[in-house]
Symmetry: C2
């Protein structure tokens, strides 16, 4: 479905994704998306019946790549679990150091749609974060942590806290702060 079979549709999602992440949801117009995608608004509304649907499609497309990046950041790390977790947060910090970085798209979209709890994009965002949590739980259990679920939840809270703090203060150092906390929590769990 999302293969190269539909150039225009793909270009629209790509354009929307870029603009939504860079500018925010509500400040981006459908006209701007159409222009950037190189299609007319008629084509845009042929593929997406509303802006809300396009917002959801944009987040849906970011789901897997995001999970893959997270997975890689942990997989590439060497050493024992505490060091590997800390490396993960170090990678968050370096990602946030890029000048175009503007926080977590899922979190920002959720914040901007706080008045629309049933919005399709909200569901996709929540599902994405749950997947992160589940992935963490599997990794922790695989590394020998017995009570993996609560620790995975705690680390996922630290991840989102790092995203939020780095954006507020424009300081990647907060990911390292979160990493130290996560390391302490993992070490404590390993001792139990």
């Amino acid at each position: 479905m999302a293969s190269g079979k539909n150039p225009a549709r793909e270009r629209v999602i790509k354009a929307a994704s870029h603009l939504f992440y860079m500018e925010g949801i509500r400040s981006v117009s459908m006209d701007a998306i159409a222009e950037r995608a190189g299609v007319t608004k008629k084509t845009l509304y042929y593929h997406f019946t509303s802006k809300d649907e396009l917002i959801a499609a944009h987040l849906a497309q970011r789901d897997q790549p995001n999970l893959a990046a997270f997975s890689m950041w942990l997989a590439e790390a060497e050493g024992l679990l505490p060091e590997r977790i800390e490396h993960f947060f170090e990678r968050m910090a370096s990602a946030a150091s890029h000048p175009k970085w503007k926080g977590c798209g899922f979190q920002r979209t959720t914040a901007e749609l706080a008045n629309a709890p049933g919005h399709p994009a909200r569901r996709i965002g929540a599902a994405h974060k749950k997947k992160v949590e589940q992935w963490l739980e599997d990794e922790l259990r695989g590394a020998g942590i017995a009570e993996a679920a609560p620790l995975a939840r705690q680390i996922s809270v630290l991840i989102d806290g790092a995203f939020a703090s780095m954006l507020v203060h424009r300081d990647p150092g907060y990911a390292r702060t979160a990493g130290m906390a996560a390391r302490t929590l993992v070490e404590t769990a390993l001792r139990a």
Copy 2:
């Protein structure tokens, strides 16, 4: 109209504050604010030269009450520091249980203004979070923690992570998750 004890400017800020928090920044119009405040748009633009200025004023007004609430949540707690910190997060959870709760206004405003790093409201938001961090540091040091600064930073990341996670999943339980993590971190620091 009904001025006197309730000056127009105050009513405008109060109306804006309510609408911005409930609906988000960009989805609230100046007309809606004027209507809710019971003033004409002429009066509104007499007190605030732009919407951006009003956004900043709204956050500035929330700064002190927010800090006061945080302070109370910790002050009212009994027991030792780890229990008191956990109580703080429990109070976050109960605040988030109210049906009208929609996350942290500072965090959501920052997210919505992610494309405007120099926006006055961004500076006020960042300053507010720094004050929270500083207040935590003072409290921790007062409770006998030597290296209070890094721990305060870690707990502030947990606070923002709790705000973000509770909003995404619409589940106050994430504040308790953050509370357990914070408790572990405090206990570890106390042992050092």
